[in-house]
Assembly symmetry: C2
Amino acid sequence: MSDQATIEGLQLTSNVRSSGQVEVALARVPQPDPAPDEVTVRVEATPINPSDIGLLFGPADLASLRTTGSSDLPAVTADIPPRAMTMLAARVDQALPVGNEGAGTVVRAGASPEAQALMGRRVAMLGGAMYAEYRTLKVRDTLPLPQDASAADGASCFVNPLTALGMVETMRRENHSALVHTAAASNLGQMLNRICLQDGIGLVNVVRSDEQVAILRDAGAKHVVNSSAPDFMASLIAAITETGATIAFDAIGGGRLAGQLLTAMEAAAVARMTTYSRYGSDTFKQVYIYGGLDPGPTELNRAFGFSWALGGWLLTPFLQKIGPEQAGKLRERVLRELKTTFASHYTKEISLRDVLDPEVIKGYMRRATGEKYLINPSLA
Amino acid sequence: MSDQATIEGLQLTSNVRSSGQVEVALARVPQPDPAPDEVTVRVEATPINPSDIGLLFGPADLASLRTTGSSDLPAVTADIPPRAMTMLAARVDQALPVGNEGAGTVVRAGASPEAQALMGRRVAMLGGAMYAEYRTLKVRDTLPLPQDASAADGASCFVNPLTALGMVETMRRENHSALVHTAAASNLGQMLNRICLQDGIGLVNVVRSDEQVAILRDAGAKHVVNSSAPDFMASLIAAITETGATIAFDAIGGGRLAGQLLTAMEAAAVARMTTYSRYGSDTFKQVYIYGGLDPGPTELNRAFGFSWALGGWLLTPFLQKIGPEQAGKLRERVLRELKTTFASHYTKEISLRDVLDPEVIKGYMRRATGEKYLINPSLA
């Protein structure tokens, strides 16, 4: 490959300075020649997921956001509250590339037959550093897309689809038969709803507005509960009783919701008991926190006995736990149902430079339900 | 046995009335003739454990405590706040006998050889209703005591010793190598400290006063951290780093302590990391809440990544999980080390009638460290 000219392209990085700012910037970086088991991909679509936003700006105060950098290579800088800096010690003064997943076309391939077979193919990719014009990565971190799939179709092949499937798989492996999901009107939530409808699994969708109730009802959801309604707890207990849900996946994290889920599961379990126990029911109740839409503290009133667990849940450790064979089966299902169950809907397509535009930043930082941004690095 | 006169004796019960009071009362109840596999025991010693107090008075407002009943059969009554009544629905208008464990002498025995072999023997007992002059129960719920053990020696054979051993066993089974314990100056905490010293297990004792630090230091504890000291978090992180503790057992429940334990474990894990991850360390951190000395809400700041779990822990489900053979081994160890590792120290010995004395109630409801009450139902 060394007889070819080096490919160079824009790459977006986030750098927390020891002086207490985060700088998000574009730089022109050369692509290494692909190793035998690698390919270089021209990135054509890469989504902005909540997990990307965490790496982009961390706990920065966006009111202090200002434009820095040059007109050719723009940048934005924002201040980080001093008390938040201690949590970031391990990433200080490193320009970290951003972007969990994406899709694009293979423009160079290493010498191995597996790499060569991908030349010119459209592939989905996982592995970070996707907010860039080019990405060189191992063949095993790519997924060749069906011929009729666009880069936008394949851009969100991994994080949301595998997270939704991972929740259902976790439910089964830990011997539960139905589940609860919060922030359920999200792209991920709608995907989970489609999986559960298709597989006949009881799902209680928890949302926080009537508009979100409508989104899920229109999508055929059977159980939708509005946490801002006055009868929230009664409706939640009724839906949990009907489905038998004893596990929940919570994207909110902060506030009282995780505890309310455990309390409602316990109320459903206690109603089935015939004798009193001051230790509560022996029905095991699990809530996994997998996001932090509310970064505030989690508050548990512990009105749910002693047979419960609250924990963190992340996709990568889950995939490691189930092993490559099982993970491969989940990936195959995603490809089979890419345009149906696992279809993502984007409301805005933006360029790499747009990611650094203060007005656009305000838009994607809102994390509004139904809004999802797609970066197309091939846009000017 | 039917040619013998029926044995009758005092029994203490707790009754939550639907009208919103709890009445704790003594009644004279006849003992059934023991079935072939049963014995009747004259109760000579039974401790007041925190779990007994929960059943005795529940969430009653002790400021409203008044003496009711007769001079022959005294009783006390206290009001229950209306919002707390919903949690008690399953026990309303039932006179529930109290007292988890105790020890005494077998005065009648069923026809089976196993029961007959216990006649006249001193035994420890588990199974509730121990706050009574007599208790008829299955042979398998008794544990014959060594000849040199008094009833007081054997009265706390089960709850504290098996809980302390259960913590160490849970630590091993869940692949941790050292542990943290809160409210560590309690009788249970001192027992756990002796087990860990003997077995060479790293233990971080968390207490809340200098007096409690001194109690544990005098008992040879290596790591004692005072949660009311200004350098609490730094000391906790240092002790966790030194021991490698990744599991904690928390008797407090409410407040920020459980979250602080996870935060300190995460800080120790992050210090060992060489690359930054915005999801925190991949070191799995577990906190089990096994008590509720602070009945207020649990507050978690979630500054500890995603690899963590918080849950309830109770002795009975633990013993069921490990099965009768393993549980038997733990019991054997308790008997072998009854007067050393598992010795309990009582500061007050009281009669059954004393349990209903408002002044005495104030004393045992304080749950002060180092104070432990023993009921001797054979006292007048």
